[in-house]
């Protein structure tokens, strides 16, 4: 479990993270979304005790991360897959940490197998790794101590589609065994299929958070009518806000029933009426973050 309360980080006059609060419960995968520079990494580093917060606090498993006696056995952390010594072999990276964690050396082979790094790949130096291989090594490293919480910063970066699919399964499985996962991404589609909860951050402030399904529902429905103008005024007449989208489709912030009734009342024939799902969430993500940059 992760609990973040009013976490704030100020660099000079710039507020990198502004009073961020959220919780991640066991059994869930939380996607931490935001454009680059929104404050995701700073927030994750503060959770892991690497960056001192200006104000607020974060706890992991009900205690401050730095007070955990052997944190790697309880919290798996991957903050930057490229932050490894270029001249050390992948296997040695894991072997060294296995000593710090106090787990048997056999865990190293176990994890290499789990993330699909071959024996010959593990013997190579990290400097020769592709970003995808570094991510796999980083995930192996995070799982080395058999933790119950995972904190992953942009873990899908550099993974190929097969790799992203593999990681989804791995994280889903981890959460289904009562684990807590917090992972960040600047790309919505990367986390959309895995996460149950979403936190959207823009310019250091949380602009939306909640269950993924609720956020999807809140984004409304897509409706297309035979006569777009007539449909638009019918909706307006019913007090519904409609935003024109592509090829005459309208995005309406209401449920399907309200839209259907408004159309029926005005006698407008509908061609399409469906939840806005992916497109809606994408739009939410874009508009929320765009709004933030306009305000700032």
């Amino acid at each position: 479990m992760i609990a973040v309360e009013d976490l704030t980080k100020r660099y000079g006059s710039q507020l990198a993270v502004d009073a961020v609060s959220f919780r991640c419960e066991p059994g869930t995968v939380t996607g931490f979304l935001g454009p680059n520079g929104a404050g995701k990494s700073t927030t994750l580093r503060m959770i892991c005790g690497l960056t001192p917060p200006t104000a607020g606090a974060a706890t992991v498993l009900d205690t401050s991360y730095r007070k955990l006696s052997n944190p790697g056995r309880q919290v798996g952390v991957l903050l930057d897959a490229s932050a490894q010594h270029q001249g050390r072999t992948g296997r040695e990276v894991l072997a060294v940490s296995a000593r710090v964690l106090g787990v048997p050396p056999s865990r190293v082979d176990e994890l290499l197998g789990l993330v699909g790094l071959s024996r010959s790949a593990a013997r190579k130096r990290v400097g020769a790794y592709s970003l995808g291989m570094r991510q796999r090594l980083g995930i192996a490293h995070a799982l080395l101590g058999d933790p119950s919480v995972l904190v992953l910063d942009e873990p899908a970066n550099g993974l190929d589609p097969e790799g992203i699919h593999w990681m989804r399964g791995l994280l889903r499985d981890f959460a289904d065994r009562a684990g807590t996962v917090l992972l960040s991404s600047h790309l919505l589609h990367e986390v959309e299929a895995t996460a149950d909860h979403l936190i959207v951050i823009g310019n250091g402030r949380i602009v939306a958070q909640g269950a993924k399904d609720e956020l999807l529902a809140a984004s409304g429905v897509i409706v297309r009518g035979l006569e777009p103008t007539a449909l638009h005024s019918a909706l307006a007449g019913a007090g519904l806000t409609a935003t024109p989208g592509a090829d005459g489709a309208l995005l309406v912030e209401a449920d399907a029933e309200a839209v259907g009734r408004a159309a029926a009342l005005a006698g407008v024939a509908l061609l399409e009426l469906r939840p806005a799902d992916t497109g809606g969430l994408e739009q939410l993500f874009l508009s929320l973050t765009r709004e933030e940059s306009l305000v700032a």
Binding site: M1, P26, R45, C48, G49, L50, T51, P52, L61, Y65, R66, L68, S69, N70, P71, G72, R73, Q74, V77, L79, D80, S82, A83, Q84, H85, Q86, G87, R88, E92, V96, S97, R99, V100, L101, G102, R125, H141, G145, D146, P147, S148, F174, R177, A178, G179
Partner: protein, 249 residues
């Protein structure tokens, strides 16, 4: 998956030291640097054997030659032991696994001292081999070997302290080689500085430790203490102060 309530014992200082020592030698750079240092000891003894007057060739002088040669690069090992956590950004992992940063530094100091002692052992072996060929006097003492160990340890820690204070490999290496030169030039050219330099110049203060012809006096020890306090103690303190506050990125 582990139970949420479980607690796990943290790694003790001995295990952390073993880990930090391993990290100093398990990278390509670390391995070659260490090998180069040992080759410097071999090289120094070889040159001394070929070039020095025969009546100077005894165990103590062979040892001094190899100590001076190895102490040239030992500070670099000390520097990289700290700064690589920043330049290679492994600190993100190291300090996430061990949040008590001072414990990591203590383990690094212990590991660095262990490597300095390994280097002393290599110097002793090289000096013995050199003297075996030269057939010089074997006169030495526990005190002399102890001083050799202190000499190498101080060279290593001098680099370590700069590394910790600057947290930047390039800057620390430049400073470690440049500052002593500048100070010795200044103290040699400005007569007023000559006296204070005896107490503050590291190179001058450690010199007698490695010199088999010199018996360390009380003043020598006091000057060694003040110079070490300044260049190692003070920089270590500044470094620890920075380390507590710094952000790992």
């Amino acid at each position: 998956m582990t139970a949420l309530t479980a607690t796990f014992p943290r790694a003790g200082l001995a295990r952390l030291t073993e880990v930090e020592l391993r990290k100093m030698v398990d990278t390509r750079a670390g391995f070659w640097l260490l090998l180069t240092i040992q080759l410097l000891a071999v090289g120094a003894v070889t040159i001394f054997l070929l070039e020095a007057p025969v009546d100077l060739q005894d165990f103590g002088d062979f040892l001094a030659a190899s100590l001076l040669a190895t102490s040239f690069l030992l500070p670099v090992i000390g520097i990289l032991a700290v700064t690589s956590e920043w330049t290679q950004r492994t600190g993100l992992t190291t300090f996430a696994l061990v949040p008590e940063r001072e414990r990591v530094i203590a383990a690094k100091v212990a590991g660095a001292v262990a490597l300095a002692l390994v280097s002393v052992a290599v110097c002793l072996v090289c000096a013995a081999l050199g003297n075996l060929i030269a057939g010089g006097s074997w006169a030495t003492s526990v005190g002399e070997i102890g001083q050799a160990a202190l000499f190498e340890t101080l060279a290593m820690l001098g680099g370590f302290a700069f590394g910790l204070a600057f947290l930047n490999s390039a800057l620390a290496i430049v400073v470690v080689f440049l500052v002593p030169r500048i100070l010795s030039i200044l103290s040699a050219t400005i007569p007023a500085l000559d006296k204070p330099a005896e107490w503050l110049e590291m190179a001058r203060a450690v010199g007698p430790l490695a010199d088999p012809e010199v018996v360390m006096t009380g003043t020598d020890w006091a000057q060694l203490a003040t110079a070490s306090g300044l260049w190692i103690g003070l920089f270590l303190l500044v470094g620890l102060w920075r380390l507590r506050r710094t952000e790992l990125k």
